[in-house]
């Protein structure tokens, strides 16, 4: 096989999150069927697939956001650094500080830019005193490549920023709790191409610090930003592998059909 070289490289990297036999039911709807996946540390992993394929569902399993849906039932085992995140002793609130999330639509709180970023550290008690909080806000905004644009108006409402800035503010907000994994649910679907490019550039930079998992409908975006791609279809994880391989020579005919635009 020609991609031996690639798989070899992958094996040397450590898995941040290991999922084994994950199943999700929404009431009687079997949304996710027996998903096994290793999310690597300091890597961008893209989940692609047609609408309703289970990719967002799986993403929301990784920080237990599905807990907030009354009818959702998650079985199987998801481990982060070897710890089962669905262990009854795990408090999802604590987990979500470690696994940040950025959503499809930029959703800053209707508060000031500063308060948006400071909120997470505040409720988790990450800062002792105002000076430390200021520093967290500044570094987070810098990490999100937004500092230079907003440093003079931190008291301005976050909702007054442009769409792309809002999304970067949301990224800064997620980064502020110093997470280890960053989940992104179609973070660019509401942005224009320039803002999208900025966010993509940002994702590439963030990769140095955490593992990033991104759900996207844009296959081109998955190809551009990710190192690993997982293709979901009808609740199954059809194929998971090195992004370059998936986009030039996928193994499964369903993957092939999807990425060449033959099934929706």
């Amino acid at each position: 096989m020609n991609d031996m070289r690639l798989t070899e490289k992958v094996v040397t990297e450590t898995a941040k999150i290991t999922a084994r036999g994950v199943q999700v039911h929404y009431g009687t709807n079997h949304a996710l069927k027996d998903v096994d996946v290793d999310i690597l540390d300091k890597t961008v992993t893209a989940f692609i697939g047609p609408s309703g394929c289970g990719k967002s569902t799986f993403l929301r399993c990784l920080n237990r956001m599905n807990d907030t849906v009354a009818s959702a039932r998650v079985t199987g085992r998801i481990e982060m650094d070897g710890q089962d995140i669905y262990d009854p002793r795990v408090d999802p609130v604590q987990l979500r500080a470690k696994v940040g999330m950025v959503f499809q639509k930029p959703n800053p709180f209707p508060k000031s830019i500063y308060d948006n970023v400071a909120y997470g550290p505040k409720i988790h008690g990450l800062a002792r005193g105002k000076a430390e909080l200021d520093e967290i806000v500044e570094t987070s905004l810098k990490k999100a490549a937004l500092w230079n644009e907003v440093k003079d108006r931190l008291a301005a409402p976050g909702t007054g920023l442009s769409g792309g800035q809002q999304q970067r503010l949301c990224i800064a907000r997620a980064v502020a709790t110093s997470p280890e994994v960053l989940l992104m649910d179609e973070p660019c679907s509401a942005l224009d191409p320039i803002a999208t490019a900025q966010v993509e550039e940002l994702i590439d930079e963030l990769r140095a610090q955490f593992s990033v998992v991104i759900v996207t409908h844009s296959m081109q975006q998955a190809a551009r930003v990710s190192q690993r791609t997982a293709f979901f279809h009808l609740g199954h994880l059809v194929e998971y592998g090195e992004t370059g391989h998936i986009f030039t020579n996928p193994t499964d005919p369903r993957t092939e059909a999807y990425i060449t635009g033959r099934i929706g």
Binding site: M1, F247, T248, E256, A257, T260, G261, R262
Partner: protein, 236 residues
């Protein structure tokens, strides 16, 4: 991939590029056969037509490249579609080279028609030309049918062309040793034979592209090479 795209314009684009490749293949096959016939029948007019016809082939290659660039730009092809486009561009380049060889053949046939004929050799060349055009045709058919096995077959049959070339090489060598006056036509004929052998190699190249297109992998180095002329054992 038998399933069609959701976006039917994409299918139409790919089909029209495929049609261009087929037309180009047809022109190249005809050019090689015509040139070989012009050589045998010393038909200068036909040779001239073949030389002129190369322009059309070159234009087709350019058109195919432009179309491929357009499809890449606007359709962002992936996986098999991406491989199709890459393959088409390489096939077009291969065919363009074949067209050049046909043109060269025609040019040399015009020179040869002014000289005394070497007995038998032009017939061998025509048989050889026939054989490589067949290879070319099969390679293109394999492309159309996305048939890796047929492509592999073409790769194997290239050996026959190599053997024909080796035989012709020895024959021309004999002519030259017999009479130094034969050297000029024999040299021309040798170049012609070599060019036709190169067309066979391009057909093999096309076949290999077809294998890549279908399987996603280029075939390994198991390609048979029976060019004994470079083996150094023939006193050349």
């Amino acid at each position: 991939m038998t399933q069609s795209h959701i976006l039917s314009a994409f299918d139409r684009d790919l089909e029209s590029i495929q049609a261009l490749v087929m037309r180009m293949g047809g022109l190249v096959e005809a050019a090689i056969l015509d040139a070989a016939e012009a050589l045998e029948t010393r038909d200068e007019e036909m040779a001239q037509r073949v030389r002129a016809g190369d322009k059309a082939i070159d234009a087709l290659e350019e058109q195919i490249n432009a179309e491929c660039a357009r499809v890449i730009a606007i359709r962002a092809p992936a996986a098999s579609d991406l491989r199709t486009i890459l393959t088409v561009m390489k096939i077009a380049a291969n065919l363009e080279r074949c067209g050049d060889y046909a043109k060269n053949l025609a040019k040399r046939s015009m020179v040869l028609s002014q000289m005394a004929a070497l007995p038998g050799s032009t017939g061998s060349i025509r048989r050889m030309a026939k054989q490589v055009t067949l290879l070319l045709k099969d390679a293109l058919d394999a492309y159309i049918a996305r048939d890796a096995r047929m492509a592999e077959d073409v790769r194997q049959r290239d050996q026959d062309v190599d053997q024909m070339y080796n035989a012709l090489f020895r024959e021309l060598l004999t002519h030259m040793m017999e009479d130094p006056r034969n050297i000029t036509p024999a040299m021309h004929l040798h170049f012609i034979a070599k060019n036709i052998e190169r067309v066979g190699d391009h057909a093999t190249g096309i076949a290999e592209q077809v294998i890549y297109l279908v399987t996603g992998q280029l075939p390994g180095e198991a390609r048979p090479k029976i060019d004994s002329t470079t083996a150094g054992g023939q006193g050349a």
